[in-house]
Structures are given as structure tokens and as C-alpha cells.
Amino acid sequence: MADVREDILARLLEVAAAVPNVRWAQRNSVDVPENLLPAVMVFDADEETTDTHNRPSNSPFIVQMTPEIVFMEQADEVGSDLTTLRREFIKGVLYDAELNNLVAKSSPRGNGAIRYLGCNTDFGWGRSQSGFLRVLFMFKYTLRPEEL
């Protein structure tokens, strides 16, 4: 059994947890107390395919997964802090050997890919200025029904 999706999401959490200064990294948790900030959440991703070729239903096909990773911080310089977290995380993902190997191994014909899609932010006030930074990546890999 091999589930590329699960392997990517599990590794993403490890990469996110390794970002310098991150105090709390979780998967799919939606409730964060302020004393654990800066924190990061990895949300299980949307997955889609545009494969409509006329072939057996259990043939391998290409899927694109777009996980959301949300960094949270509360500080006077929250914008700069979030930008630093974003920078370290993008580097961590794009240069991570295990993630790159997962998509490459699943698609030996060169169809696998990791792409940074962008980020968006949201700010408010708590004890200090509070901010969210949502980072989007796309992972393209081959889903092989016979391996599930």
C-alpha cells in the first residue's frame, strides 16, 4: 500500500514544524491558544484531476493536490514575522529531498511537480497585533489505484 497524498501531507507537517521559531505545528487543528504562537497548521488538501481519457478506470492518472498551510503569529511586528515564516517554509518545501522524491517517484515519466501558488494574509488585534498567513502549494503526482 502506498498513498502519496498521505505521505506528502505527513512530510509537509514535519517541514512546517522545522521552520525556525515555530512553537506549535498541528494537522487540521483549528483552535490555537495564544501562548503557543507562532503556530502553523497543515490542512488536508483538495485533490482534483482533469484526466478524462477513455481508458480503464483503474489506470494510473495524474492528480493535483493543493494543501493549505496557515501560519499564525501575534506580535508588534507581526507582518515581518509572518514574512520570515513564509520565506523559511517555502525554502523548506521546495528544497526538501523527501517531498521532491515523493512526487518524482510517483511519476517516473516526469509528470510530478511541486509549485508554490502564493499566499494571502489576514490581520486583527488581540493582546498584540495578530496575523494569519495562508500559504498555498500544488503537488502534482500520479495516483496509482493498484497501489492503494
Binding site: V32, E73, W125, G126
Partner: protein, 118 residues
Amino acid sequence: MTIDYSALLYDPVYAELGVPATLSVGTAGEVTITVIDETRPKSNINGTMEVRTTGPGAFARIPELAEKGIVRDDYQGASLTFNGRSWLVRSHELRGSPNGEDVGEVRFLLKAIESSDG
């Protein structure tokens, strides 16, 4: 006959719920006032994410501030110490009184001075 809400409402409430506070405005020095601690739980939400934090705040009586030489332009950036913590005024809103806003309350919206982790 006009009802004096300061004498009949605000002053007794502040006498019961108020705590001593020190307000520092720029180089004008410190004044001692009475505030009502309005620090409350607060949630900052983004999509399904929820960060549980604290919304620090305090109410003060505008007549008391005016009597001690504190005018509205002084509010922003002033430091306020009460109940063992020090804060900076990041914003404020006026709470009018039936006798007019000049004899009502001001709600100070505060932020931490020392650190972000509470």
C-alpha cells in the same frame, strides 16, 4: 429636571467596580485615574482557524480625565497601568452619556507593551 448620570450612575459604578490606574501621556507625566478593567477573551478567526487570545481594554470617565488635564488628543499612544499590567492605548471609542459625550465614558483599546506571549 435633568438627571445627572455621572452622579447617579457612573460614579457609583466606578466606586464599586473601578480600580486605580496610572495613565502616562507623552512627557506630561503620570496621572492616577479610576478605570474598569474590560479585558476579555477574544477570538481571531481566519477561515476555519481560530486563535484564542485576549482583548485588553478599560473604561474611564471622560470628566475625570478632563479634570486631570487629559484631552482626547492625548489618548492615542498613552500607557495605562492597572491590575498589575501595563498597556499602550492603540485606539479608543467614546461611549456617550444621556448628558452628552463629554460627560460619558471612553473605552480604551489596549495592546501589550512587554511581550506578545502574555
